[in-house]
Symmetry: C2
Subunit: 103 residues, 2 copies
Amino acid sequence: MFKLIAIYKIPNDKNAFENHYKEVHTPITKKIPLMKEVRINKVFGGPTGKSDLHLIAELCFASKEDFKKAMGTPEAAASGKDLMSFAKDIVSVHFAEEEVLKQ
Amino acid sequence: MFKLIAIYKIPNDKNAFENHYKEVHTPITKKIPLMKEVRINKVFGGPTGKSDLHLIAELCFASKEDFKKAMGTPEAAASGKDLMSFAKDIVSVHFAEEEVLKQ
């Protein structure tokens, strides 16, 4: 699986963030073509109790080719533009290849 | 899915890191009970070309109960102890609940 991973730190205004994320950003992002699924990880803590993160979102693609194609679409550009409008100061975006280890 | 997510920045010595991660840390970590799977995300870039991250590892559990139980085991303690031995300065660890959005 090839992924775009967006890591969000805790926003100053959690309610405003959640509202924009759910009502605006998620619908825009779900329009990106070729995505297999979107995984939303809601951070609730860490080993010492607290975490400085709020959310980690994973946009998942079956192949690097699909990932690259998708990144070049107007839908991906729209999602990126919206992201910068509400989360510029708290988000970092990374591209990664996932390998699943069997137990 | 409930997850422990370990985010690693780029290590100074990539070869030494990879060697320890593969030969020592992964075998120790795979012994943690109740894990559904381990997802290793190898970061290869970001929207501006580079990323400051090297790896994002996800230890996945079916329920919060399993996650909590697993975290209390000697195997999890051994994995945490080993983590601190080779990645203390570059890793951050977070607990999260994953929700998968359908397209």
